[in-house]
């Protein structure tokens, strides 16, 4: 399958006005998003997600590195005929009505009114805004803004969607609706880059994810592979105090429970070492259970590990 999005060594440094401070927002980011997949693009606040999207859209320029969307390098304005962008906050002209906004954005793609009329009806229906189509955006609630934002983004029937927190500010029902819309778009063969802090949502719908922290790519891969990591829950009993302490030292995480010790570890050599300690202390190995973690577990662990260093 071809790459819908590809970046190579993308780096972005922001220099403050007085040139006194340099913020490295993105460090040498290389990744590929495949055509037709939902790609979860994750990271804590300030990780560089929005920065990456802005580079892909040509709003800001990378300090180093290159990027392609659908095979065209991003400085080519024509790339954006096939891209949709939903911003993380409602950055739209609030003096327009929903209908006017979608029409205006359609015209920026050079679409004719005949095509537009039908598409506006369909899109406003899709996001459940048909009833408010003639009201000015100024009067909208946050969630209504967000919905119109999704409608305007789809006006050009894009192939690649860059969604920057599309469900922020939405109520639970609307969140689910947006999730369904995203899945429907994927089924139509569209590629979706999804930034979101709603990790359970991302876990439910993504094919692959990348986790970014402080501008650095920490993990990338198929969701199944990442979550089926080699983390194992080790439970042992009848141990000496010294042995228990040793295990607690070794393992990434451990707790004592009813005279047993329960340890979590993913590094193979350490798992072997823990078992050796149990054996050496003549303890009893109760169970050894591979754990499928949640995306949230993985995310928190990666970010905390990074903080600890």
């Amino acid at each position: 399958m071809a790459d819908a999005i590809r970046t190579e060594g993308l780096t972005k440094e922001y220099v403050s006005a007085s040139a006194a401070r340099v913020t490295v927002a993105l460090k040498d980011l290389s990744l590929e998003v495949q055509e037709g997949e939902i790609f979860g693009f994750l990271g804590p606040n300030g990780a560089g997600k929005t920065t990456t999207i802005k580079i892909l859209l040509g709003l800001i320029f990378p300090t180093a590195g290159r990027a392609w969307v659908l095979g065209k390098e991003i400085w080519d304005t024509a790339v954006r005929y096939d891209i949709a962008f939903v911003p993380d906050s409602p950055y739209f002209y609030d003096f327009l009505t929903a209908e006017e906004l979608v029409r205006f954005h359609g015209r920026l793609f050079g679409l004719k009114d005949k095509v537009l009329n039908k598409r506006i009806d369909d899109l406003l229906d899709l996001v459940g805004m048909a009833g408010a189509r003639n009201r000015r955006l100024r009067e909208y609630s946050r969630g209504m803004f967000q919905r119109v934002g999704i409608a305007q983004a789809l006006v050009n029937d894009p192939k690649v969607l860059l969604l920057d927190e599309p469900t922020s500010g939405l109520d639970p029902i609307a969140q689910r609706e947006v999730r369904d819309v995203i899945l429907k778009l994927r089924d139509q063969g569209k590629t979706i880059l999804l930034c979101s802090h709603h990790l359970s949502d991302v876990e439910r719908i993504s094919d692959r994810v990348a986790i970014l922290n402080r501008g650095k790519l920490e993990r990338i891969g198929r969701l199944d592979d990442l979550l089926a990591a080699e983390r194992v829950e080790i439970t042992a009993e009848d141990l000496t105090e010294a042995a228990s302490g040793q295990i607690a030292e070794l393992a990434q995480e451990s707790r004592r429970q009813n005279g047993r010790i329960v340890a979590y570890e993913e590094r193979r050599d350490v798992i072997a070492a823990i078992i050796d300690v149990v054996r050496g202390a003549n303890g009893r190995l109760v169970s050894l259970i591979p754990q499928r973690q949640t995306l949230e577990d993985l995310f928190v662990r990666i970010v905390q590990q990074e903080e600890a260093q």
Binding site: G58, L59, A78, Y91, F104, F109, G110
Partner: protein, 260 residues
């Protein structure tokens, strides 16, 4: 096509923002003055109406042009509405031109309404005064030149707004406006100047800054001077348009490299 969509949208934004209220205020002032000064002799009265009218149009248009040009792009960057526009297949140059033409359209509508009010008052008064006077339609030539001056000012403030803060932009634009209105005086100062460096500096200033005085045939018109020629108006119109185009090219170059 896309530039048109941007221009129309910009126009709509300015209209809904109610800059047009400026006009109503202006029209009110215009009409009021024509009654206030009715104790002068007929010729005097007409002079005052024309002078006040043309000056009011110039002032209103100048303020609207400057405020629009200074705020247009930085305002969009601040509110981040520019993100969703520039993420469409719109080049920076198209965006800039769309903004400019939207502003020019707004100015055209403003100026046209003011001109209609102005010419109506002039026409009505021309018949009322003793002795009645013919309506001088050459006044519209001055209105046209004033309009081109507004567009020039718009392109200048737009150009500055791509690399200056709004406050700096306002200060420098005002400076350019004042220096440009003193162009002839500046030339005299240059002739008198003894210091080479000062002279060179002033010369650069003289050639860089548009000569706003060129755009004014008002005094001649109000005096009833017959010498105001169409050829002159055409020449200055061309000067204004050329200047505007150059400023827009510089603006587009500068905006291309700006991060938003």
């Amino acid at each position: 096509m896309r530039i048109t969509a941007l221009a129309v949208n910009t126009f709509r934004e300015e209209v809904r923002r109610k800059v047009f209220l400026f006009l109503l205020l202006f029209a009110g002032v215009m009409i009021a003055t024509s009654w206030i000064f009715s104790f002068f002799t007929g010729t005097e009265e007409m002079k005052i109406i024309k002078d006040m009218g043309l000056t009011s149009i110039w002032l209103a248009g100048t303020i609207i042009a400057m405020v629009m040009g200074i705020r247009m792009i930085p305002g969009e960057i601040d509110k981040r509405t520019i993100y969703t526009i520039l993420s469409k297949p719109i080049s920076r140059t198209e965006y800039l031109l769309g903004k400019f033409f939207g502003g020019a359209l707004t100015l055209a509508a403003n100026t046209a309404i003011m001109a209609v009010v102005f010419m109506t008052v002039v026409a009505v008064k021309s018949h009322q005064v003793e002795p009645p006077q013919p309506v001088d339609f050459r006044l519209l030539g001055q209105v046209l030149l004033a309009y081109l001056q507004f567009c020039l000012l718009l392109s200048m403030t737009l150009m500055f707004s791509t690399f200056l803060t709004p406050i700096m932009n306002g200060a420098i634009s005002l400076f350019v406006l004042i220096v440009g209105n003193l162009s002839d005086t500046l030339l005299d100062v240059i002739k008198l100047s003894k210091n080479m460096v000062v002279e060179a500096g002033l010369r650069v200033l003289y050639y860089l800054v548009p000569n706003w005085q060129n755009f004014s045939v008002q005094d001649a018109l109000v005096r009833g001077d017959e010498k105001v020629a169409l050829a002159y108006v055409a020449k200055i119109a061309l000067y204004g348009i050329l200047y505007t185009v150059i400023l827009l090219i510089i603006a587009a170059q500068s905006f291309r490299n700006q991060e938003v």
